[in-house]
Amino acid sequence: MPLLEALGLQKRFGGIHAVNNVNFNVEMGEIIGLIGPNGSGKSTLLGLLMGVHKPNSGTIRFAGEEIQNWTIHKRIKSGIAIVFQHSRPVKRQTVLDNIKLSILPDRLFSFYYPGDLEAKAREIAELVGLQEVADSYPSSLPFGHIRRMELAKALALNPRLLLLDEPFAGLTPSEITELASLILSIRKQNQAIVLVDHNVKAVYNFVDKIIALYVGNKIAEGKPDEVISDKEVRRVFIGKSMDACDHCLPTEKSCSLSKEPLLDLNIGSIRYGQAEILRKVQISINEGEFVSLVGLNGAGKSSLLKAILGIVGYEGEVKWQGVSTKNLTTAQIVRLGIAFAPETRELFRYLTVKENLALGGDRLKPAALKERLAYIYELFPILKERLEQTAYTLSGGEQQMLTIARAMMQKPSLLILDEPTLGLAPVVLDTISETLAALHEKMGVTILLSEQNIHFALKHSERIYLLEHGSITWEGTADAFIKGVGEKSLV
């Protein structure tokens, strides 16, 4: 009997099918990698296994028992443990106290600590190499150490199934190898692991079996090399083959080089808690260009874009038309002429498509607004059909269109898009592709695109910046990218 069985799992959030009829099994002691681009449903699936979400339909069986309606703590007690993607240490307590929490039984009248608790906790700390900092607080520790502490806590629960949500995110290649061997060395013989990551390279060497997800559906399952060479999987992750590239050799725009860059970015550092997400990044965008920022998730693309918009803090300078935007609010930056279609879309869920668009054109006079709306309807005919529908009920692709359309309502000088192809079906990708091409070539909008789908990025971009582990590791023209870097960056 498999340790874990997932049958027909479905989870919807409004109009979005996060997990669509997914089936899979985990045997005792097996290590399974769950891969997929962002928006493929990986984290939601883990959330379903964990009890953070309840499925709309489907069953989950753990050691023969149906658990999909169990509370989180009941699942933990039956032998499941999780290490969350974004670490959740208990900040007011020391590392040792954090570990003690995982050893303590769920017994109500625990008025005294068991005599050997302290010793056991220190042992565990030593197992993950944290014995020196056991009495410090999480806020003083580097990011990697907190990861280790979370891992220790989960393993201390002695689970039969360990769920790891993006354990390698934000780590350098050497840190990844270190963590991987640590996990392997301290896990017990029959402990099964389900590991979610978008970093296929890291997962490849670590797991017994890979399951690939895309737009909530399982598209492949099998041994690592089988799955990696699967055509569908490659297309989804890398896009079509690099050689069959349709129109990715754009003409050079030499005229823009003489003028001052529209956006000039020189960032020293961006932090998220203790983790340094970005380090010494320099980017400049000239008027009329189409520039792409490519890289895997966790590379820091979103943080960089958010820094431009003033949503996250940063050390360094961001200049718009030569003037610093450091102390401006997000709304002020937007009013300068920068429009942003974020990864999380930030649509007004219960407002209609029309109302969302109208808010985008908030600063326009009524006549100009009408004209603008007409133009948007032309670009996005599908939105015109859905005018009176609330944003929440739109499909993933429609929501993405609305996000871009809403941003375009502002007649921006620079349009920034964060992973617009996120979790979208191929047909929709084509529409977005056409739209972006029209915006750029016909309307001359300057575009900064952040994507992990390199093929999509290459189709339109003149220049590419490759972001890996928080630093720019390559920059140049799209042409040079294909010849120089190509597929190597992913697998």
Binding site: T329, T330, A331, R335, E346, Y350, Q410
Partner: protein, 292 residues
């Protein structure tokens, strides 16, 4: 028969006035995420200030009322700028405790106002003079013209609020703010401006409701906690985050209170509302239309 009609009419009037206050309370919660425990204090504050100017300075009714409402607006802004906003931005309070601190702070604000009112005006209830004397007689019961005006004004203001929120650009901005702060900022709209508008509207709605309440039932510093309790019984019954819910729940609670007052005793009006609240919290915490 007479009693039934009287209950129907009186219940309607008081419910409409409650609705005006509850809708404001709900708006603040839905958009800013704040349960303003000083709500009752604002209601009584506007009433007493209005009464003060009318009785002592002999100002005309409308002028006195305007001053009362203005006071409510001013104190709303004070609450936002001096208390709520600083706490929200405070780096000294851990994120998970912010909500609780803000909740406590609004309660303290309530006490400050209640204490000041009690000190200045004592504990005797005041009543605001009617807009017009006289009454109309239908089916053997009398309804004063004032009572009609109170109900009409409440509903008109609520109607205006409805139009504002659903038909104007500004209203849509308020709605949008309750859905995504980042999204709104990305539209080029300063969130602070939205908040300023929001608290101003809140002060206005609550101020008018308080004055109308005092005209119908009277008000005193000691009624502050009960009014706050009543308001959130309504808002929880209607469902936290739903303005429509608060509107309808006001009538349920209002009628409950009126029925109790007529059939049992006038001193019991708020008790049934509290029991309803506890019942709801046990059976269906999300209330009738709740989003949370």
């Amino acid at each position: 028969m007479q009693v039934v009609l009287q209950i129907l009419i009186n219940g309607f009037i008081i419910s409409s006035i409650y609705a005006l206050g509850a809708v404001g309370f709900s708006l603040i919660f839905g958009t800013a995420g704040i349960l303003n425990l000083a709500h009752g204090a604002f209601l009584v504050l506007s009433a007493m200030v209005a009464w003060f100017f009318i009785s002592f300075f002999k100002l005309p009714l409308v002028a006195g009322i305007a001053l009362g409402v203005l006071t409510s607006v001013i104190f709303s802004y004070l609450l936002f700028f001096l208390v709520v906003h600083p706490l929200d931005q405070s780096k000294k309070i851990p994120r998970e405790e912010k909500e609780v601190f803000i909740l406590t702070a609004t309660l303290l604000w309530s006490m400050v106002i209640q204490g000041l009112l009690d000190y200045t005006f004592g504990s005797t209830p005041i009543v605001i003079a009617p807009f017009t004397p006289g009454a109309v007689h239908i089916f053997n019961i009398s309804i004063t013209y004032n009572e009609v005006i109170l109900a009409v004004v409440s509903l008109v203001v609520i109607g205006l609020l409805y139009l504002l929120i659903n038909r104007t650009k500004t209203g849509k901005m308020l709605l949008a703010a309750s859905m995504s702060h980042t999204g709104l900022a990305l539209m080029g709209v300063e969130l602070k401006k939205v908040y300023i508008l929001l608290w101003g509207i809140y002060g206005l709605l609550t101020g008018v409701s308080g004055v109308l309440l005092a005209s119908f039932l009277g008000a005193s510093a000691s009624s502050v906690p009960d009014l706050t309790g009543l308001s959130f019984s309504i808002v929880v019954l209607g469902g936290l985050g739903s303005i429509t819910g608060s509107f309808f729940a006001s009538y349920i609670i209002g009628y409950l209170g009126t029925i109790t007052a007529y059939l049992i005793s006038p001193s019991y009006t708020t008790l049934p509302a509290f029991f309803v609240l506890i019942l709801i919290l046990f059976i269906k915490p999300r209330g009738l239309f709740g989003r949370f």
